[in-house]
Subunit: 335 residues, 4 copies
């Protein structure tokens, strides 16, 4: 926001009035004709231009074009498989990896009645070691789609490379880009070209600005919408697996007015803290949660310690205080 | 927790049962006689020993002595000035710096009716530059005490050095140790010797374990109780002033069962995100909040951009959903 | 390393002797028969097994299979375009972006006489914003190859996506994987399949273990060798662009015995600190440097502030104290 | 640096010329009379004002007052116990903790002939746990002074609290402020009041600016000089104990022209990497090293894994390539 002053304005008084609104002045500019403008810092509080225009001494208020214009204009609601993400709390849940048709099927059958709108599960898994389980591949996509369809759910699943965009886009209602690929620009362009909504996880040490610009890549390439997902950033303390940055969630939700989902499972890496952090995420402004569950966590092929037993999901969902069935608000069902 | 197995036990099956309870096995030990024990990782989920003892194949369960025994045994409630911190949500609020008797007085008069139990305010300020305002000193302590007494409030204020412990302990119900002094061991010992309860802020990049051990210094030196305070750690993204680690709050509250206060003002450094993060903090498990307010933030001598205008505090408190007057639960008033 | 003890051994005494060698004991294991083994921590000092075997009380010493066996067995020298990287200091230099045939040509002509073995330059650029200059694309690859060939140099250039592996592998002697793609596992697999040597930059917040495992992906997929490149990790202080982790360089060079290149240009983001950090990198154990230069930094289309003016490169190279022409050691020229 | 332009100047051309010198423009200001000034960013390259003044279109160049004027004016050499720190490489070595008179004595006797100018050793130890060895206290100070005097060495030792300043200042030639106390402002003021030179270790997550301002506290309180000491900052990778930030060392040495010592022992936490990082530190611009050694590391009461065996110190010092006796340059001996 650029606040132009009247010639007679008391600059200090205007600065004080802006500060009282939560707006900090990042720079003062003066043009050749001697008229002064105050440049308001990028991450200041969201204040309507006309409120600022009413401050005595202010001549005009203008808004510079955003560095990520498509993200800035997207709005707070993204439609995915007919579900409005951003309108009311949305739950996404399922196993870390799609391991078998039975496992996926059991998850969907148990989760749908709880109001979980999206079935999650990885068919392709990004694993730190090349020798770790890499996912079951294409059959997993089929299991997810079938199980979701049988239970009136949507599918969100990760696409790991350019060549995977086609098969994943065929079954997923929401394409997931993982943390490690947040700045894989070739993938962002390819995923965007699928013209679908994308769930964009924040990279391990990405700034909010870098995250928004990654979203801009998606929208500029054709994505129908971007839902941001905070899953914890890299920290120095190993008592939790990652460091959940709910301040960034509040910033996206309340200042940038964007839909943001929180994944407390990867953030904490331990199931005992997931209920509390799920509630905290919603309180911070998250529009939904993505939670890993497994019929038998002790047997999970990946991330067992952070999986909520499927049998405990009802209790967890009940503890969130989400209005009944809010999670399943549909605009009409999947075409 | 050390889980000793029966000779005939199936180790894999027991490990699986532990995992299902959220307990990870950090090491396997075998004594000379061949009996095997599973050592459960320090930060695993809190599970009662008798639940584990019931797993088939388990012979006995024992708990090793904590590295911070006094902190481990303290319990979730600390009494300060007759107020039980930990029993019900507690609010602490006031200006960053005590600037004048009028300012302090105005804050107390406005905050007490809102159920704010503790009046905060710095008489001595830790400032990055030696040329920045260093606080008004001793008179500020008097203003805080008098204003608190006139309004039935308690006082929490920072002690910055060994020589300041005496004067601060004379007026404060709760001594505050700031982030920069969390590992100032000379101060921890001196503050503990005052035999009062202490609010211990987490250092900028302290692990949870280091924080608990700093609390152990206080208790070992005589402090009557330690209340932990998360105020944001150092991060790489400047869109918020610090990085609020609510995962650590959940860990302290739910696993270690300790009272923890969150200071969203220093964490965010910008007032627009404070309401959302206050609610998120309570949802994560915080037993209270410490919030900076000022009658006129634009005129504040320190930290103005993060101060909530005093006139807006009623709205903020109302938005927290705390039961009326819960914040002011007293055990009998200040002796 | 697993150190098995004799039945009569004094465990404390052996542990002390190990500590004196820089070896820390991570775990103690005892088998059913009562024989005790000490498990030495993964990142302990590199000590030959026979030195440990001579400690009184030690029965046997065994080495567990590495979690990244191909990386562990690769060795310290990788051949790229006939140049032995790891044998003697290797210089890689060129512009951030290949901007024009003239620019690339001028760089190569000026750098070759200085002993710079590898011409670097991006034809495809990973940019934070989709609206920033994305590189000239395929023609840039041609310019690099031609300029290198005319001057007896090799080419190192970045491959940004699976679909780019073919064209890049056709011209590059050394394929570069950028920081943002270090855990783009689809790209690692595709790049490895080109059967060429790869320069693998460390991700912004990757641990050394994660970096080595990313290298393992490359070797497991067919890469003929992996050269690691430290280019600074994300830090909290903006006085330098990134935080150059020379401790990790020393760890790779001296403990893991792997070839590691340092890119001080991206690490510092400002040219004034590049000479000092180049010398520090070589002192820490780097086997070479990758430095950005430009005929006219003020006109550079990307990263101008960190580019060394081409006219200053001779002075910089001279200050490194590398033996004349050591950088151009060839096994026989490019086939 | 503020660069005022002539009325007819081409702003873009001047900005380009500044960029070519490594100077980035942080802001553009225009006064009421319409004359334009370019504000050069704080951490730009060090360029003399008269070089900038010669750029066509520049009317005048002015330097704003530093936020830490005393530090800015201190200069690169600090005198401690008659030794010029900053003039030639200075070595400081000794045990982590002063454990016994014999241990301290043996260290001094072995180190002095190697050209180690300063004997280090902690009499008071900042330990994370209150139950860990806290140092031998006052007797340790005496052992250090006596051993140093017998061998023509100086003493550097840590002061942990305000009440310790007196006794420590009595024996130390150089007072050490530890990392955990870098922003213990009460201690900085008390230590400065001793009118002696101070070695100021960087806090675990301090920015360079915060570090310089902590130095300003010391000088403003009367310290006769400040020597900065980088000992590694907190990182996310446990393969080294801390993250040695040699970029900050280069910044202090080459841009701020201040004396900076590197402590590779605490930075690495493992002795095998200390020789390489010692050489890297000197190459980056460090004016000296502080190294922990012990007659028998396996028996050390603290930090054994990072101690160089006393018997190996000669080899380490020889590997540094410091000119013989350069470390012991004296201005005349201790008064």
């Amino acid at each position: 926001m650029i606040v132009s002053l009247e010639g007679s304005a008391d600059r200090g008084r205007v600065t004080g009035a802006l500060a009282a609104l939560g707006l900090s002045v990042a720079a003062v500019e003066e043009d050749r004709a001697g008229s002064v403008s105050l440049v308001v810092g990028a991450c200041s509080a969201p204040v309507e231009a006309d409120v600022v225009a009413r401050i005595p001494g202010v001549r005009a208020v203008s808004m510079p074009r955003s560095v990520h214009p498509r993200v800035s204009e997207q709005g707070a609601v993204v439609l995915a498989g007919g579900v409005e993400i951003g309108a009311a709390p949305v739950l996404m849940a399922g196993p870390c990896s799609a391991e078998s048709e039975e496992q996926v099927s059991a998850c969907a059958a148990a989760l749908a009645p709880l109001g979980v709108a999206f079935l999650r599960g990885g068919a392709f898994k990004p694993r730190t070691s090349p020798y770790a389980f890499q996912g079951v591949g294409l059959p997993g996509l089929r299991w997810l789609r079938d199980a979701a369809d049988r239970n009136g759910m949507r599918v969100v699943t990760e696409v790991m490379g350019e060549s995977g965009v086609g098969p994943v886009a065929e079954v997923a209602d929401l394409l997931q880009i993982g943390s490690r690929n947040m700045q894989n620009f070739a993938l962002l362009k390819a995923a965007g070209a699928a013209k679908k909504p994308v769930l964009l996880k924040r990279a391990m040490s990405a700034t909010v600005e870098e995250w928004l610009l990654a979203g801009e890549y998606l929208l500029a390439s054709g994505a129908s919408g971007v839902v941001f997902c905070e899953r914890g950033i890299r920290g120095f303390d190993t008592s939790t697996r990652n460091l959940l940055d709910l301040g960034a969630v509040a910033l996206l939700a309340h200042v940038h007015k964007l839909p943001v989902i929180v994944d407390p499972s990867h953030a904490m890496g331990r199931r005992d803290l997931i209920p509390a952090m799920s509630r905290a995420a919603l309180a911070a402004g998250a529009t939904g949660l993505m939670i890993e569950t497994h019929p038998s966590p002790a047997d999970a092929r990946s991330d067992g310690p952070q999986a909520i037993p499927l049998a405990s999901m009802a209790e967890l969902v009940a503890s969130l205080g989400i209005p009944p069935r809010a999670a399943l608000r549909r605009a009409g069902g999947r075409a």
